[in-house]
Each structure stands twice: as structure tokens, then as C-alpha cells.
């Protein structure tokens, strides 16, 4: 296993939103697993930290939650992306892309200035 990176504040919310967008409704455990997988096991999330983040998103109206049954019939709380959450996701994706593009230019200035 390669060196794992701690999830920094703020990006967890973006990951949650993106995951819900591609995967549809998920419970907290599923979300945590999925984020870990997507990162190629590079990202280490203490699964528990996802819950305060989910609560914040729910309070802001980006996700909604509902109790339901899991694939193997266990009770679980499912989170769904709301329309306003989708908009937030799009906005944050754009910002993120712009930010990484700028950073990328700084980190590889060779071609530009040459």
C-alpha cells in the first residue's frame, strides 16, 4: 500500500457530493467505502468523520436523508443529492478545476516561460 493522504477539510464534502452524483443514493458506510475505493486506496478516511460532514450538508440542504433497507436487508440511512446539492457540486467542480489549473501552471512553469 502506498503512503496515505489525510483528507483535508472541505474536500470531503465535494467528494461526498460527487460520489452521490455518480452512484445515486447511498448510506454512510457505502459512501465512505466508495470514497476510499475511488481514491485508489490512497486516501484514508476515518469512516466516522463522514457523519458530521453529512450532517452539515444536510443542514445546508445539499443532501437529504431517509431511513431505508440495505441490499442485505439491514436498516440504514440513505443520503440523496438534492437539486440544490447538484448545483453546488457543479459550482464547486468548476472552482476546483480552475484552482488546480492555476496551481498546475505554477508547478510546471518550464514550458510557459521558455
Amino acid at each position: 500500500m502506498a503512503e496515505k493522504t489525510e483528507v483535508w477539510q472541505g474536500t470531503l464534502a465535494l467528494m461526498i457530493l460527487k460520489t452521490l452524483d455518480t452512484m445515486g443514493p447511498l448510506h454512510g458506510y457505502g459512501l465512505a467505502r466508495r470514497i476510499e475505493q475511488t481514491s485508489g486506496q490512497l486516501l484514508c478516511v476515518n469512516y466516522g468523520t463522514i457523519y458530521p460532514a453529512l450532517l452539515k450538508l444536510e443542514q445546508e440542504g445539499s443532501v437529504s436523508s431517509r431511513w431505508g433497507a440495505s441490499e442485505n436487508n439491514r436498516k440504514a440511512k440513505y443520503y440523496t443529492l438534492t437539486p440544490s446539492g447538484r448545483k453546488q457540486l457543479q459550482r464547486e467542480e468548476r472552482e476546483w478545476e480552475r484552482a488546480t489549473a492555476i496551481i498546475a501552471r505554477f508547478l510546471s512553469p518550464g514550458q510557459e516561460s521558455a
Binding site: 454512510g28 469512516y47 440504514a76
Partner: protein, 890 residues
């Protein structure tokens, strides 16, 4: 937006904590179960699967903690906890709570009441369109303007976005019972200037001003009162003073035709100036205008000064010395009540500060009792800030409860103040401008809440900070507290008392000055005896046949009938009642003297009276004779003048027998022989200087010969043996018995008329007196509290002194000295403050200087005496300390 949404979700979280807690546990449990199941599927044994799941989840407790902090508003939760605790502590000390709440509520209530008045009278805009740009253009800021001058002003001025004139008017409205209604004539553009659309119908239009359309716009009050709010009133015909008018519109309830001078106007008719367009005499118009947005008051004034100068040069005969003042409308309405209200506001703030100081003192005493509790809190890890917050929450809780009670006090005071305005028989009537607009509303509520919170901080902060500044060690050590009298806390208490005493002294000096001024004012001699005289207005307007001999016969008959009533001494009547009615100043020429130059005319107030007037009013006849029944219309023309006119024109001479020509309205001047001189009477204002007056007998005046509306009414005066208001109904019925079409209005006693003149000083006196009393009471309670507490704390010391042989008087002196030292310092500081502050009272005082030494001295002595009594009670208790018991307390 999102943040706001999250805030409300968290706010909601505060109230469903338990359910959310359970949900989180359920969710964590479900998470772990899912994870374990996955792990088992991946081939782990159940125990390892469980351990791995728990490991990957991270610290459950820390997640819960994060979740909880996120879920609700932690500061709010602490606040709610503090508040609950506050509620419990306050309820556990009902005595303390009651005293503190009542003290504060008095202060807050007084502030709420005065603020409500200030807000309605001074702060709220007038109910017109953009009222802040409306101004009046009047002679010396208040006098009327002639039609030709007005038309020139309007044509020549460039500073205004419109200028219009209005004139006072009125008539008798026919119906089941005739009623005299006050009205106003509105010139072209007046409604547009005020900018208030009608509720029903329309206002005036251009062709209404050519004098052919007789149209009326009704005020809301008249429409409701006379026509029951009939929605079909527009288009109906009304009979007003015998003439038919068409109603074209009704104004909304908050609209006033004129916010000053013609405040009683309830209907408006168009003002047709065509006939008078060239007249520069007969000043009767009030001019309203709207300043252009970029023009300042000063610029408008400068322009008007220039126009007046040009008019003076062009028409020296009429316009010499005629200037105008441009004044904001609100200032015109509010007048000099502003000063009084500001002074009252200052006084209530003082009262509140004293109340705050008192409660701060109470809290300091309690802080001593709670020293242990605070020390334990600190020992258990509460930060200073946390403890200060807890203590501040307590004082704020106290303040809010006091605010609610204070609002109730405020509400009652406002109801009381308003009832003073309307009371028929009350001799304490208020003539406050805009009084009807005074009511408790959301502004007042917000203000009161703000004051309460501010007060809570003011009285809570010092004790709270003080409480945590003491160190832990000192707090936990129990014994020995209070053996030292002058520790930091008692120094703070002493300072608070000194501040209270000085604030109380300032307020009391204000009250004392008002009282002195009012006594002076009450001692003013109006020149007549107002005791036991009933006054009522009647008018024969709209009865064209009741003129000349018939009119005189009506009054003669009325006099005979009224004088036959039991308890009636005499009856007389006059056209303009002094202090209440109009004052028409007209010019007179003296026989044998050259005509005066412009600006040097001899003017005199014009009074028409019937025989018996001087006797009824008890106006002294200085020389010559009174009018009599023999002064008939066709007899020798006579007049009576007052002492002032006699002294001015005939110094050292006897004016009786001299002849003057007097220009009466609607009559050609004729030579009249002066037959008598009477003493001076106050004319239009209670404190005004005496001015010239000339009296004409009714039967030789325009009031006898003209049916013009303004020459058709008289004020009848009846002097009685007992309470004059008792015969009011009888007199009115007697008038209607003679002629049903005569409206009777303004029935009141002359004493009420005078009360109306001095309502403002009386209002000032009563309120400042009330606040002074409150300040005194609170200050006395404050000094009593401090001394009484000091005595309890020093019981030991006093016990030892007594045991060592101190006499009762020594102990008494010891305690009194302490108290009086505080009082003395407070009084000295207060005297300084009063000296600096009472200057603002200058305009409100009559014949009393703001630094009146006698008032300062008496108030200081009085306050010192009260302080002495307040200290005497605990001092006596100290003197009676039994040393055996006192020492055993240790």
C-alpha cells in the same frame, strides 16, 4: 443563504436533541453492522470483523462530539442553560427579584413612555408626501400673509417646487342639530403640495377655484361622525351656513388639513383669491411650500428676504417692515415642545441610571453571598469569561423581565397621558401637537427591549467583572468576610451611591426650578377673575334674518333668561375671549393728530362686548363708565380703551372724552368718543406683555350689523355663585329654547381656558416632578441599602466598640457620618452637574434663572435630609447592637 438555512436547522436542533442523539447511535450501529457483514463476507472471523470495523470507524466518542457540535448551536445551548439557571436563582430569591425588577421597571417604563411621546411628536414624519421638504412661509414665522404678497411670492420665488395658500374658515352644518364645524380654504395646488390622495372621490381641480362650483372635501373624522362613513357621500349636497355645497371627496383617516394653527379643520373648500388678488391689507393666508431638492432652507430664506425687500420698496405704505421666515413644517407643528421633551428625556435617562445603580448595588451584595459558588465554579474549571457570561445572563434575564413589566408601566402611563388630553371636565388638559398619534407600537417595543438589554449590561457588567476578579483563595475561605469595611467591593458600592445621589440632585433641581417657575406662572394676574365663570361660543351664522335689532334682541332675551337662573350672578359676552379667542389688531386714528407714517400706526386689539362683560369678567373700570343699554346703534358712537392704550397715547392726560376713528371690518370708520378706561387683560398668551385694546359696544359694531360668518359669533360668559360647570347644560338648553339653529360649542369654565394656556409648563412640571420624586425615592433606597449592609457587615466591629465602652450616640454618629459623607460628596458633585445642565431649561422657565440659588440650596438641604433619614434607620439598628450577641456571631 445556505449559511442561514444551516443556522435554522441547527437552531431547530437545539429543541430535538434527544431524538437526534438516538438517530446518530442508530446510524453508527447500522454502519458498523454493514461493515462487519462485509468483512465477514470477505472471510474474516466475526470477532476480527468487528474489531476492524471499529478501528476503521475511528473514535466513536469524538465523532459524536463533532456531530453534536455541528448539530446544534453550542453557544445557544449554553445560553439556554444559563437562562434556566437564572430563572431558578431569581425564583429562589423572590425578595431580591421583586425589588430589582420593580426598580428597573420604573426606570424602563418611564423611558418607554417618554420615548413613545418623543417618537410620535418629534421623530415620526408628518403624514404627508415627503414631509421633510415641506416648509411654511409666514410673517415672523407665524403671522399670516396678504393675498397680493402671496401671489408675488409664488410668481417670483425659484426655491420651491410649489407654493400654496390656505385660510381658516368654518360654518354651521345644518341637519337634525346644527353644528359649528371648523374648516379651511385650500388654494390652488394645496392638495397637490401635501401629496395625500383622497380616500373617496377627488380633491380640487382647476375650475373649482373660479368661485362658481361650491365643492367640499371632507375630513375623515367629520365623515365618520356626521355621515356614519357613508360610502355614497360623494356627489351629495350639504347645507353649510345656509349655502349648498357638493361633496367631491373624503380624505383618509391619518390626513390632517393643517397640522398647526387650523388643527380642528374638518372640511376644505376651494380658496378663490380673484377678488382679493390686489389686496395687501387683510393678511389672512398661511403659506405652505415644498423646497426644491437642491435648495437649502438658508437659500430659500435669502431669496424670500430679497423678494420682501423689493415689495417693501414698491409698496412702502403696506409692506414696510414686512418680512417672512421660511420654517420647516415639522418645526412649525412641534414648536417649543421639542425643548421640553428633550429635557424630559434627559430626566428619565437619569432615573434609569439611578435604578441601574441601585440594582448593581443589590447584585454586589448578592455577589458577596455567592462568592463561594463562584469560587467553586472557578475551581471546577470554569473560565472567567464563562462565569462573567453566566452572571451577565442573570442580569440580562432580570432586565428583560423588568423590561416587560416596564412596558406595562409605560403602556399605563401613555394611557394616562392620553386621557389627560380628552377629559371634558379635567383642568389638566394637554394641547400637545400630534397627541392623537401617540401610541405604543413596534418602535417603542424595540426601544424598550434595547433599553432593557442596555440597562442589563450597565448594571450587570461591573458586579460580574468584580465577582471574578477576586481570587479563588479568598472566596473559598469562609470566615472573616466582612470584618474589613472598605474593601474593593464596598468602595464600588459607595461610588454607585454617590453617583445616584448626584443624579437625583440634578433631577430634583430641575423639578425644583419647574416648580418655582410654575408658581410664578400661577401668580400671573390675567386682569380678570376666572373663578366661577362659564364660557360658551354661539353663532347666528347662516340666519340672515337674525341681524341688527333682532340679533340684539336675541342676546337681550338670552341674558334675561340666564340671569334668572338660580346661582347666576351676571352674564356678558365678547367677540374674542382673551387667551382663547382670536386677536384682531386694527389701526386707529386720533382726532386732531396727523396721520401716522407707515410702520408707526396706532394698533389695538379689537373687542366687541355687550353690557355686563366687564362686570362678569371682573375687569376693573379705571375711569369713566361702562357700556350700557343706552349705547344704542343710533346713539353717540362710544368706545372703551385699556390702561395700556391710555398710557401710551395720553400719558398724564384723561383720555375720557377724546375721539378716535377706528377701522372696523366691514364698516366705514367713524369717530368714537372714549367713555372709559379699563385695566389691562392678557390677550393671546399667558406670559405676554400687556398690549393696546379697544372695546366697542355690540350694538354699534359690525357684529350687530353684518351677517358675515366671522362677525356672527360671540362668546357668552356667565358668572355663578358656585361651580359654573353645573349650569352648563341649563344654559345650552336655554339657547336652544330661544333658537334651535344656534350651535353651542366650547362650553368650558374660564379656569379651564387658562389651564389650556399653561398646559405645557404644567405638563413639564408634573412629569419632571414625577421623575424627580422617582429619583429621590430610588436614591434614598440606594443610600439606605448601602448603609444598612455596611452595618450588618460591621456588626462585629460595632459590638467590640460597644463592649469597649462606646456610647449609643458614638455608634449612631459613626454610622451617620459614613452615610452623610457619601450623601455630601453626591450632593456636591450633583450641584456641579446641575449648574452645568440646568442651562437647557432656560427657555422653559418663567421668571426663574436656571441657576436660581434658592432652588439649589433648598433641593440640596432636602436631599440631605432624606439621606439622613435613610441612614438613620440602619444607624439606630447599629446603636442597639447587643455586644454579646454581636461577638458571638463570629
Amino acid at each position: 443563504m445556505k449559511a442561514l438555512r444551516a443556522f435554522f436547522a441547527r437552531l431547530g436542533g437545539v429543541f430535538k436533541k434527544d431524538r437526534q442523539d438516538r438517530e446518530l447511535l442508530d446510524e453508527i450501529e447500522s454502519h458498523l453492522q454493514l461493515h462487519i457483514a462485509d468483512n465477514v463476507r470477505a472471510g474474516m472471523d466475526p470477532q476480527r470483523a468487528r474489531r476492524d470495523a471499529l478501528l476503521k470507524f475511528g473514535a466513536v466518542e469524538s465523532v459524536k462530539e463533532d456531530y453534536r457540535d455541528r448539530r446544534t448551536l453550542p453557544w445557544l445551548e449554553t445560553f439556554v442553560k444559563d437562562l434556566t439557571y437564572t430563572g431558578r436563582t431569581l425564583l429562589r430569591n423572590p425578595g431580591f427579584t421583586t425589588v430589582a425588577v420593580l426598580t428597573l421597571a420604573l426606570g424602563i417604563g418611564a423611558n418607554a413612555a417618554i420615548f413613545t411621546v418623543v417618537d410620535a411628536v418629534l421623530l415620526k414624519p408628518l403624514a404627508y408626501k415627503e414631509p421633510e421638504t415641506l416648509v411654511t412661509v409666514l410673517h415672523e414665522g407665524q403671522g399670516p400673509i396678504s393675498p397680493a404678497d402671496f401671489l408675488d411670492f409664488r410668481a417670483e420665488s425659484r426655491s420651491f417646487d410649489g407654493m400654496a395658500a390656505a385660510e381658516i374658515w368654518g360654518g354651521i352644518l345644518s341637519g337634525e342639530r346644527a353644528e359649528a364645524v371648523s374648516g379651511i380654504r385650500f388654494g390652488e395646488g394645496m392638495f397637490e403640495l401635501l401629496g395625500v390622495p383622497p380616500l373617496l372621490g377627488r380633491t380640487f381641480q382647476a375650475d373649482d377655484f373660479n368661485g362658481e362650483n361650491r365643492v367640499l372635501v371632507l375630513g375623515n373624522s367629520l365623515w365618520q361622525r356626521r355621515f356614519g362613513g357613508n360610502p355614497n357621500i360623494v356627489g351629495q349636497e350639504l347645507l353649510l351656513s345656509g349655502q349648498s355645497y357638493t361633496v367631491v371627496g373624503v380624505m383618509p383617516p391619518q390626513f390632517r388639513f393643517a397640522p398647526f394653527w387650523a388643527t380642528k379643520a374638518e372640511l376644505a373648500a376651494p380658496l378663490d383669491l380673484r377678488e382679493r388678488a390686489a389686496s395687501r391689507g387683510g393678511q389672512s393666508l398661511r403659506i405652505f411650500a415644498r423646497l426644491k431638492p437642491d435648495v437649502s432652507l438658508g437659500q430659500a430664506q435669502a431669496e424670500m428676504d430679497g423678494i420682501c425687500k423689493r415689495l417693501e420698496a414698491a409698496y412702502p405704505d403696506s409692506n414696510t417692515g414686512r418680512t417672512v421666515e421660511v420654517k420647516p413644517l415639522l418645526e412649525q407643528v412641534v414648536g417649543n415642545i421639542r425643548q421640553a421633551l428633550l429635557v424630559l428625556s434627559g430626566a428619565v435617562v437619569f432615573v434609569l441610571l439611578i435604578a441601574c445603580a441601585n440594582v448593581a448595588n443589590l447584585l454586589l451584595v448578592r455577589a458577596t453571598a455567592r462568592q463561594k459558588e463562584i469560587a467553586i465554579r472557578t475551581a471546577l474549571g470554569a473560565t472567567r469569561w464563562r462565569t462573567v457570561r453566566q452572571l451577565l445572563t442573570e442580569s440580562l434575564g432580570l432586565a428583560v423581565v423588568a423590561g416587560v413589566v416596564g412596558l406595562l408601566f409605560g403602556y399605563l402611563s401613555i394611557a394616562w397621558i392620553k386621557s389627560l388630553m380628552s377629559g371634558e371636565a379635567s383642568s389638566f388638559r394637554l394641547r400637545m401637537p400630534r397627541l392623537a398619534e401617540i401610541s405604543l407600537d413596534s418602535t417603542t417595543l424595540l426601544f424598550t427591549l434595547g433599553v432593557a438589554v442596555l440597562a442589563g449590561l450597565v448594571f450587570g457588567l461591573a458586579p460580574a467583572v468584580h465577582a471574578v476578579r477576586r481570587n479563588l483563595h479568598g472566596g473559598l475561605r469562609q470566615a472573616g468576610a466582612g470584618t474589613v469595611a472598605l474593601n474593593g467591593r464596598s468602595r464600588l458600592r459607595s461610588m454607585l451611591v454617590v453617583a445616584e445621589i448626584s443624579l437625583a440632585l440634578i433631577t430634583l433641581v430641575g423639578a425644583g426650578l419647574m416648580l418655582r417657575s410654575f408658581t410664578r406662572l400661577s401668580a400671573v394676574d390675567p386682569g380678570f377673575n376666572p373663578h366661577n365663570v362659564l364660557a360658551l361660543d354661539l353663532s347666528l351664522q347662516g340666519q340672515p334674518d337674525m341681524i341688527g335689532q333682532r340679533r340684539e334682541a336675541f342676546y337681550r332675551e338670552l341674558r334675561e333668561r340666564i340671569q334668572a337662573l338660580p346661582g347666576v350672578i351676571s352674564m356678558g359676552s365678547v367677540n374674542h375671549l382673551p387667551l382663547a379667542g382670536d386677536v384682531w389688531t386694527l389701526g386707529l386714528n386720533i382726532e386732531g393728530r396727523a396721520l401716522p407714517k407707515p410702520g408707526e400706526e396706532v394698533d389695538a386689539a379689537y373687542r366687541v362686548c355687550q353690557p355686563g362683560y366687564f362686570r362678569t369678567m371682573q375687569i376693573r373700570l379705571v375711569r369713566g363708565r361702562d357700556f350700557s343699554e343706552q349705547d344704542r346703534a343710533d346713539g353717540q358712537a362710544v368706545a372703551i380703551i385699556n390702561q395700556n392704550l391710555a398710557d401710551e397715547q395720553w400719558p398724564g392726560e384723561d383720555p375720557v372724552g377724546k375721539r378716535v376713528a377706528f377701522d372696523e371690518p366691514r364698516s366705514t370708520p367713524k369717530l368714537r368718543t372714549i367713555v372709559g378706561v379699563v385695566s389691562n387683560v392678557k390677550q393671546s398668551s399667558w406670559t405676554g406683555e400687556a398690549d393696546n385694546e379697544i372695546y366697542l359696544p355690540f350694538s354699534q359694531s359690525s357684529y350687530f350689523s353684518s351677517d358675515a360668518p366671522h362677525l356672527s359669533g360671540m362668546t357668552v360668559l356667565v358668572r355663578t355663585e358656585g361651580e359654573p360647570s353645573r349650569i352648563a347644560a341649563g344654559v345650552r338648553d336655554m339657547v336652544w329654547g330661544l333658537n334651535r339653529q344656534v350651535p353651542v360649542s366650547n362650553i368650558k369654565t374660564l379656569e379651564e381656558v387658562i389651564a389650556d394656556c399653561v398646559w405645557q409648563p404644567r405638563f413639564n412640571l408634573v412629569l419632571i416632578g414625577l421623575f424627580g420624586g422617582l429619583a429621590l425615592l430610588l436614591g434614598a433606597v440606594g443610600i439606605y441599602g448601602v448603609i444598612a449592609y455596611a452595618v450588618t457587615q460591621r456588626t462585629n466591629e460595632i459590638g467590640i466598640r460597644v463592649a469597649l465602652g462606646a456610647k449609643k450616640t458614638d455608634v449612631l454618629g459613626l454610622v451617620l457620618r459614613d452615610g452623610m459623607k457619601l450623601a455630601g460628596i453626591g450632593i456636591l458633585l450633583g450641584l456641579g452637574g446641575a449648574f452645568a445642565l440646568t442651562r437647557v431649561l432656560t427657555d422653559l422657565l418663567y421668571e426663574v434663572k436656571p441657576a436660581d440659588p434658592l432652588t439649589f440650596l433648598i433641593v440640596s438641604l432636602f436631599l440631605a435630609a432624606v439621606a439622613l433619614v435613610a441612614c438613620w434607620i440602619p444607624a439606630r439598628r447599629a446603636a442597639n447592637v447587643n455586644p454579646v450577641i454581636a461577638l458571638r456571631q463570629e
